[in-house]
């Protein structure tokens, strides 16, 4: 069974994050397919600490942070948001961390990591329990969560997020925090997100090899949603499409809770590859053409706008090829449409249409292609906007584009962490039996 170990690990990460925030410096590490971003956050000493509802689970109200260091480097050895070459990735992480540390002038020991891959899969769980003492306490919530029947999500997968979405107390539904309320039956709706175990283990190992401690894990689509969806959208229901280089993440929020997350294993790299194949140019040139001249809506003027393409077979200097911009658009558009159609299928499968408010926000590096909003509106058919992430204090202009949505979201997540299942006290019987079993095993192994 992997679940208990991850449960303990998550709890440990949570403690480490709280300790790091208390100490004042937390690192953010977003491992993407095209780049690795490291942010160094400095937290102000708890200025506005509100006494939490109960002593056990603290709701840290430590919003006052500023970014004091940013390090970005081209990612290597990452495919589809997953590590494919450990050494290369490790080096990329080292580069980014070193740059950020240099800028911040402090050492980073604890990092919160986000990644796009691992084929996230969402599950909605429900659990119901009798309230013990009339008043709902932490214990009751823990019991209710423990009472959720977990579907068999596969041996090779692990839950990475397990967040209570809404509570129902007796007949009152849609409560966000029932602590202290009076009732008899407490039901909880939980959203659980599982990812591939191997991917997570590789990631943890890789970060560990850089002498860093992991103080939290998050799926990057979730983090992007936090940073790009404005409060109203998060409250009323919206989807965030994080178009990265290797994977396109989808996250749906309602009532400020993540209710669905998914990822399409297509992204900006595929567009680059198409250009590479279609125009017969090397990878770096294709990337450059995509960034400088790329677009999705062809007009008449684009037929006349010629893009100079270096000829790999050139015999002399002025042997150049020219490609019109409409040709480039013709190469790029089908792939973008494919990605968006895939996203639409996932949204439909998730029941996004049933939400009261259906805002779609596009973000991520690939969302900067001109004309994407038109194409997206045509395919996704709803209100679409392209959203750079929220501005946070101290973030340089260079790192405030849509490509940094996940990193910024992770920073926000670090300052306002959401309650996760492992923050609550689990029923003693489960932990007790496991401890007993472990003790028994130790006894058997050693005697």
């Amino acid at each position: 069974m992997m679940t208990p170990s991850l449960f303990e690990m998550q709890r440990e990460m949570r403690q480490r994050r709280e300790a790091a925030v208390k100490r004042g410096v937390v690192g953010i590490l977003d491992i993407g397919t095209s780049k690795v971003v490291c942010l160094v956050l400095q937290f102000a000493p708890n200025l506005n600490t509100e006494p939490s509802v109960s002593g056990h689970v603290t709701i840290p109200s430590m919003g006052a942070f500023r970014v004091i260091g940013v390090g970005t480097t081209r990612s290597r050895g990452v495919r589809f948001g997953e590590i494919s070459v450990m050494d290369e990735t490790e080096r990329a992480i080292r580069t980014a961390v070193q740059r950020a540390q240099k800028m911040a002038g402090t050492r980073v020991d604890d990092v919160i990591v986000s990644f796009a891959g691992g084929r996230p899969r969402s599950y909605g769980l429900g659990g119901e329990v009798q309230v013990e003492n009339g008043e709902v306490s932490e214990r009751d919530i823990g019991h209710a969560m423990a009472a959720c029947d977990v579907p068999p999500y596969g041996e090779d997968r692990q839950p990475i997020h397990a967040m209570p979405v809404a509570y129902t107390l007796d007949h009152e539904a849609g409560l966000s925090d029932p602590r202290g309320m009076v009732g008899s039956r407490l039901a909880v709706d939980m959203h659980m997100l599982t990812v591939n175990d191997t991917v997570v283990q590789n990631l943890l190992h890789c970060v560990g090899r850089c002498d860093l401690e992991v103080a939290g894990l998050a799926v990057s689509s979730f983090a992007s949603g936090i940073s790009t969806l404005v409060e109203n959208e998060q409250e009323l229901g919206a989807a965030c499409i994080d178009m990265g280089a290797g994977a396109t993440g989808i996250s749906i929020f309602i009532k400020k809770q993540l209710i669905y997350a998914d990822a399409v294993r297509l992204g900006g790299d595929h567009i680059t590859n198409d250009i590479r194949q279609g125009l017969q140019v090397p990878q770096d040139v294709a990337e450059r053409i995509k960034t400088l001249h790329g677009g999705l809506l062809a007009t008449g003027a684009d037929d006349r706008e010629m893009i100079e393409v270096p000829n790999p077979m050139a015999q002399w200097d002025n042997d150049r090829r020219h490609v019109s911009r409409s040709d480039l658009i013709g190469v790029m558009r089908p792939r973008v449409e494919e990605i968006l159609e895939e996203v639409r299928d996932r949204l439909d499968a998730a029941g996004f249409e049933e939400l009261p408010h259906q805002q779609i926000v596009l973000t991520g590096g690939s969302s900067q292609i001109p004309g994407l909003d038109d194409v997206a509106a045509r395919i996704l058919g709803r209100r679409v906007r392209i959203g750079p992430p929220l501005r946070v204090r101290g973030l340089p202009q260079m790192a405030s584009g849509p490509g940094f949505a996940a990193a910024v979201g992770l920073a926000l997540h670090a300052s306002f962490p959401q309650d996760e299942c492992w923050d609550f006290e689990m029923p003693a019987d489960r932990i007790g039996t496991r401890k007993m079993r472990r003790a028994f095993r130790w006894f058997r192994n050693n005697w």
Partner: protein, 289 residues
Amino acid sequence: MCAMKYADPAPSLLRYRFERLWLKPSVRRTVRLWLPLAVVAGGIWMAAHNPAVQGATQQGWNALRDTVAARPELQVDTLEFPDVSPDLQAQIQALVPLDLPKSAIDLKVADIKAAIETLDAVKQAEVRITGNGTLEIRALERRPVLVWRDGSMLRLVDETGHKVAELARRNARPDLPLIAGKGADAAVAEAMKLFETAAPIAPRLRGFVRVGERRWDVVLDRGQTIMLPENGAITALRHVLELHKADDLLNRDIIVVDMRNPDRPVLRLTETAIEELRRLRAKVRGEDA
């Protein structure tokens, strides 16, 4: 296809670890502050314990001192004795060899003062270098008030009992009273008072003898002695003087007036006086018989 080779921007693991270590405040402080301090302190310590360095330092120091001492501003070339008697001047010059001119740095004024104050005749000395290269020595001389015969020695003694000078003959200072006996110098003050009190019989006074480091005998001419008690010697002497005034006591044929018990004065007569007394008594008895 031009394959351009980019340098790997990633730091090596060693470099990465080193930079992280360097970012630790404690490590930075150690390397930047404590390590240089330790090196400097160690260097100083080793240099201080190196005999060659010590010698060189000493030499340099001495040379510097010599150059400073050779400055004309610091030269002391004259010696002055304002109000010091010529006799004492000679004593001082014999005691403290001052080969002037000399530098003010080399002159140990305090030592000179201490040396001068070891002289018996000097009560208090004052030695100073004045601005214009002059060494000025002032000495407060002790004033002799008594002559003390200590065994075969004759000494002049001041009012505290301190020796001032030696005296060859008693006649050299007939104006000063004579004291004798062991421990007499410790009770000079009392002797002086006795001398004052004994003013009416001054022409007959030979001196005072300290007996048993305890009490005084007043010695007069004709071998007469007044034995005074340990306490209240002055009163006892006055008592004797009153008796003398009234009955002309001391001019009579008496050797000793014993006042050791002030309540009961005892007279010791001479041999002739005793015989005369017996004769007279016998005569009185004969007449009676």
